[in-house]
């Protein structure tokens, strides 16, 4: 379809919305301003810090002598610091900020009890700060994604309790009978996370389980955090943003229902496939592999639903930053799931187990899928909070391409390098050092990808800073990536 054939709407002016409804929305958006901006600003600050740490980690992996004499800069401390800054600092805060805004909009009510959220954001930041400091000082617990020492975990939990209770309160004030798809996912995420976090903490630290079960609980936690917390928020956001931007309802409500319930049921059973061939009863691993296979049902339904919603409207990605990022993220969800399935099959896992492949998988999930969707949401939400439009279309484009190429290159490097590394490892006639030699060039390529991502994040942080300072454009039309008037050819 030709781009000019599509009415490019100012996204908040939906065709059905009357003047009253518009006013009401503006009013709701204004009420979310302080808490959401607080979450976003903290998230972006953590993102920049996490990116720097990531670059450092990536370079140190092939230049091991870089600053290795300082205890808190040793690779084994900076790496968990990077992971936790990204998981709890950036991803969780950005996700919660987005979820808060979506909740207010979808409950069609002004945000109440903003102080609860402000306090929660403060506590959360404190928790992450203490946790990362603890890791760098050598207080890590050693469990993947649960490295924060106890004192930080407690603070995070308190902060989280405030947010969850706020979400439940908001739900009671909602207007309208219908609960939109996005709300299912968000409600799920809000309720799953505390259970997950509490179960992880309790079973690992308070009443620890015996022996290898610690690993099982650890991976159950990490995997469910990825799917039921980050994944659920990202899918919910995509279900809101895509129809909103193109001004068209979701293709099939029925598919969405199937997608949601199969997602909740099957993806929560995955996790043990990461422990394939480990010292566990085989049924646990097989159950998770089966769940990975069954998880293709929600992937297919959600993907089909988004695709059919977008059909005919893909050219709009040329103009709308939100749509471009969100669709990239939604497509990455499929890639992420397919890669996850492939590397968990026993015949493949034999060759990719214990290699860099699992790093590629985590980045596909947390970055290509989750982070890109959240970037898209931020491009939509922030102008509505600060009352200004994004200043430079060029910066948004740079951000997108640097992020897209960066994560694409990183994934390819880690997947290919990991596969070769794992294959070498399975060949006992090669000395072990060969396997490391094999993967090193790919790790250098990964560092290059990291430079691209660093550039992307600095550009975004700068742009966001301009918006915060009120230096955005004053305009009634959102910032399009390409000028609508002069462009006639669609599809890119």
């Amino acid at each position: 379809m030709n781009a000019t054939g599509i009415p490019l709407k100012e996204p908040s002016v939906s065709a059905a919305a009357g003047a009253t409804e518009q006013l009401e929305r503006a009013y709701i958006d204004a009420s979310t301003r302080v808490p959401v901006l607080m979450f976003y600003t903290s998230a972006i600050a953590w993102l920049v810090l996490g990116t720097l740490l990531a670059g450092f980690v990536s370079f140190k992996l092939h230049e091991p002598d870089l600053l290795s004499n300082i205890s808190f800069l040793t690779w084994g401390r900076v790496r968990p610091a990077h992971m936790n800054v990204m998981v709890y600092g950036w991803a969780s805060m950005a996700g919660m900020g987005t979820a808060i805004w979506l909740m207010a909009r979808l409950c069609r009510t002004v945000l109440r009890y903003p102080l609860l959220l402000v306090a929660a954001a403060g506590f959360w930041n404190l928790g992450v700060l203490l946790g990362v400091g603890g890791i760098l000082l050598g207080d890590s617990t050693g469990y993947q994604w649960l490295e924060f020492p106890g004192y930080a975990a407690i603070i995070l939990f308190v902060a989280y309790t405030l947010i969850a209770s706020w979400a439940v309160l908001m739900f009671r004030y909602r207007r309208g009978e219908q609960i939109y798809i996005t709300q299912w996912y968000l409600l799920g995420a809000f309720l799953w996370f505390p259970w997950l976090y509490a179960a992880g903490q309790l079973m690992l630290f308070v009443v620890p389980v015996q022996g290898v079960l610690q690993s099982a609980v650890g991976w159950w936690y990490a995997n469910n955090l990825l799917f039921l917390w980050f994944g659920a928020i990202a899918l919910g956001t995509a279900y809101y943003m895509i129809p909103k931007v193109i001004g068209r309802p979701v293709y099939s409500y029925h598919l969405a229902t199937i997608g949601f319930w199969t997602y909740a049921l099957f993806s929560s059973w995955t996790g043990m496939q990461r422990l394939v061939d480990g010292p566990f009863p085989a049924w646990m691993i097989t159950a998770s592999i089966a769940a990975m296979i069954l998880s293709m049902i929600p992937v297919a339904t959600v993907g089909l639903n988004h695709h059919m919603t977008m059909r005919g409207y893909f050219p709009l990605m040329r103009y709308s930053p939100t749509l471009r990022f969100t669709v990239f993220g939604a497509m990455s969800y499929t890639v992420f799931s397919v890669v996850g399935l492939l590397i968990s099959l026993r015949s493949v896992a034999r060759y990719v187990n214990f290699s860099q492949t699992s790093i590629a998988y985590s980045h596909l999930g947390l970055y290509a899928f989750f982070t890109m969707v959240i970037f898209g949401a931020m491009y939509y939400i922030v102008p509505r909070l600060v009352g200004r439009e994004w200043r430079y279309a060029s910066l948004i484009k740079l951000h997108f391409w640097a992020s897209a190429y960066g994560i694409g290159l990183m994934t390819l490097m880690l997947l290919a390098g990991g596969f070769l590394q794992g294959t070498d490892m399975e060949n006992p006639s090669l000395p072990f050092s060969e396997t490391v030699e094999t993967v090193l060039p790919y790790l250098r390529g990964r560092s290059l990808a990291g430079i691209l991502l660093t550039a992307a994040h600095f550009i975004f942080a700068y742009h966001f800073g301009l918006m915060l300072l009120g230096l955005g454009r004053t305009s009634t039309v959102p910032t399009f990536l390409n000028p609508v008037e002069t462009e006639t050819s669609g599809g890119h």
């Binding site: 140190k60 091991p64 002598d65 290795s68 004499n69 205890s71 040793t74 084994g76 401390r77 790496r79 968990p80 050598g138 890590s140 617990t141 050693g142 469990y143 993947q144 009978e177 609960i179 299912w184 409600l187 799920g188 179960a199 079973m203 620890p208 389980v209 015996q210 022996g211 290898v212 079960l213 610690q214 690993s215 099982a216 159950w220 229902t257 319930w261 909740a264 049921l265 929560s268 059973w269 061939d277 480990g278 010292p279 566990f280 009863p281 646990m284 034999r350 187990n353 214990f354 290699s355 699992s358 490892m425 399975e426 060949n427 006992p428 006639s429 000395p431 050092s433 490391v436 030699e437």
Partner: protein, 351 residues
């Protein structure tokens, strides 16, 4: 979707299903394992560790060793771990019942170290015999760090040096009191794995240097106990000894040029030699060597870390796991003399 009740119930129900299925039921199944023992109730394995081991595990966690080193050996049908000499049998849940925190780990940028302690030279597996130090064994290697840094509990220490070796090596190399055994550590797993692959594969030390002697069969005479293996630079402590670990942690690339392990110099202290050189000072060469009159000594944390590494040992047979090379569980009785005196046991089926 209408109404909150089905939504809430569904959200809770699906998650409860996963929680029960993947954590509660496995806990019920394998969450309360006991150590195994033989009929008389002796030879208990595994045994809880304490003291330096615990602190060493903390140092291990704090510095993120598990992000590069796994501690799990896969079964022979699932991977090449056993052929690489990382263990003589697969790891089993029972191996880990006292491990807290647990470091199974998912990454092998470095080798698997589930059995790194079992690969130590024979003389460090039991109290060092008097006057047994060979030229290759430095004073630092064989004496104080080794003795103090190996707070192993009775079972692993009393077990024969290495099981693969115990099964098929001639008696001479088994006598830990023998000078030759002290000088040239018998690589664990080498004899038993050699027939299957033939190349340098079974060498646990394939990462270091070239290993010309890897495929040689065990020599027979006590005077020619095989070439020092792997090939060692003169003056370097024997591989996987406590002294070797210290040098490796301090300067990984002085031992293996290709290593990409970071150095952990912050766990060591450089100080002026007072009266005489400390017994546990590191033997460093080349550019790592401290200036004249100075020495590099491990901090207490470094000693604990090495003690922890030296105690990582899953070579003790488990009744429900088949060991490679057919070493049956019975031969694990802590009586090297008996095991050495009998002919090499033939590959026996799993017990």
């Amino acid at each position: 979707m209408k109404g909150l009740a089905p939504l809430f119930l569904g959200i809770f129900g699906t998650f409860a299903f996963s929680w029960v299925g993947l954590t509660v039921i496995p806990n019920w199944q394998i969450g309360h394992l006991n150590p195994q023992s033989d009929e008389e109730g002796t030879d208990i394995y595994p045994q809880p560790q304490s003291g330096m081991f615990e602190r060493g595990a903390h140092v291990y966690t704090a510095n993120g060793c598990m992000y590069c080193h796994s501690q799990q050996v896969r079964a022979d049908y699932a991977g090449a771990d056993i052929e690489r000499g990382w263990g003589n049998r697969r790891s089993a849940p029972r191996d880990y019942i006292f491990e807290r925190p647990l470091f199974l780990a998912k990454m092998r940028m470095g080798q698997d170290i589930a059995n790194i302690g079992a690969r130590a030279p024979a003389e460090q597996q039991s109290p060092p015999p008097g006057g047994a130090a060979s030229p290759a064994t430095s004073p630092g290697g064989a004496t104080s760090p080794a003795a103090s840094a190996a707070p192993k509990s009775a079972a692993p220490a009393a077990a024969p040096a290495t099981q693969g070796a115990a099964a098929s090596s001639p008696p001479a190399t088994q006598q830990s009191a023998s000078p030759s055994a002290a000088g040239s550590p018998a690589p664990k797993g080498s004899p038993s794995a050699a027939p299957s692959t033939g190349v340098a594969s079974p060498s646990p030390g394939a990462m270091a240097n070239s290993s010309p002697g890897a495929t040689t069969t065990p020599s027979s005479g006590p005077q020619t106990a095989g070439p020092p293996w792997p090939e060692q630079t003169r003056g370097e402590p024997p591989m996987y000894s406590a002294a070797w670990h210290h040098v490796h942690l301090y300067s990984p690339r002085s031992i293996n040029l290709d290593s990409n392990m970071p150095s952990y110099r912050f766990l060591y202290e450089k100080r002026r030699i007072r009266d005489q050189r400390s017994a546990d000072a590191l033997q460093l060469t080349g550019s790592d060597a401290p200036p004249e009159g100075w020495e590099v000594i491990p901090t207490y944390d470094a000693k604990c870390l090495v003690a922890y590494l030296m105690a990582l040992n899953q070579s003790h047979p488990l009744n429900d796991v088949r060991s490679a090379g057919g070493a049956p569980a019975a031969s694990a009785a802590p009586s090297p003399a008996a095991a050495a005196g009998s002919p090499p046991p033939s590959p026996a089926p799993a017990k």
